[in-house]
Assembly symmetry: C2
Homo-oligomer: 164 residues x 2
DNA sequence: GGGCCTTAGTTTCCGGTGTCAACTATTATG
DNA sequence: CATAATAGTTGACACCGGAAACTAAGGCCC
């Protein structure tokens, strides 16, 4: 095991902790939890996304996804409507308020990141971006490799399910 | 707002999601949740750490920290003993089993990261490490700037508490 | 077009988890 | 020695997500 990868792993873990549910935030923005925010962002970036797709994207069961959307709907950030093509399917979309809130949160966090990296020069900022793109791409590729067909919402994926 | 920082923020958020509680794992390793694992790692990296220090490090209240340690203790990963210097203070330490488990988890995740980055050359791996170090350092510095004295365990820190 | 299977989503029940506030126990202060 | 402060624990509570049962709609086959 190369020492570099141990370091990289530990650093990612630490960074993730700070940007995760218990890190800088806890509530993510006012009345949104991190999970709700991630769902909102996903819905905002899509058009007519279904409940299961949201669950799949965020590693929740359809039951969990349904409840997250309940909360977002109650808060007035998203709407549910039955698909005209298939009466079983729910099309979820953001309301104007939801889209605005998602944007505002992105701006706030981006400002935080900008402040955080204020001492870095332009070249390094570009480099940071590139490295993060590589990491995110790599994770996606790895995810896809591991991805068997999974029953409900694609949850339960674990590193440890490989060789346990 | 520089577009780069928006990108960087979104990438960090996405990466964090994969390494967070709902990402690759959910259970972190067998019988450990991510929170428990983070606590175990913290305890393993320290000597005679107190309950409050753990809570502070992980952004939990002392009550929450106490219960996390309960769980770890019940699973046989850590021990609590009263400090010889101050009868109110608990010294928490890992058992041999706890230390071994922490190490094993690090190895597994590191192997995952190694696999994930297998197509990157050595220079890029070094670069990734450097960038992550900068990011983690920057977050720490920023955290310290924001850190006022907080009542219980330092919880509740929020980006949005600054100007809301 | 009626019966059966499949699929999307919801709901109910339940266990896990973290916070708050109250409490115990110990130490510091004067 | 009395009072205050501090470390940690506990109990009540609310929240959250999963499993499974359920509802409703579509697909299919004869």
């Amino acid at each position: 095991m190369d020492k570099d990868f141990v370091n990289i792993y530990n650093l990612i873990q630490e960074l993730s902790w700070y940007f995760g549910a218990h890190g800088i935030n806890g509530e993510c923005c006012g009345d949104l939890s991190l999970v709700e925010y991630m769902a909102l962002k996903k819905i905002n970036d899509s058009e007519n996304i279904t409940v299961q797709e949201i669950g799949h994207a965020l590693n929740f069961t359809k039951s969990g996804a349904s409840k997250i959307i309940d909360r977002l709907e109650n808060k007035g950030y998203v709407t549910r409507e039955i698909s005209s093509l298939d009466g079983r399917v729910c099309c979820v979309n953001t309301t104007a308020k939801g889209a605005e809130t998602a944007l505002e949160i992105v701006h706030r966090y981006s400002a935080y990141v900008s402040e955080m990296l204020r001492t870095q020069n332009t070249a390094m900022v570009k480099n940071i971006k590139t490295v993060l793109e590589i990491l995110v791409d790599s994770v996606h590729r790895q995810e896809n490799l591991l991805h068997g067909k999974l029953p409900q919402g694609g949850g339960g994926m674990s590193i440890f399910s490989i060789d346990n």
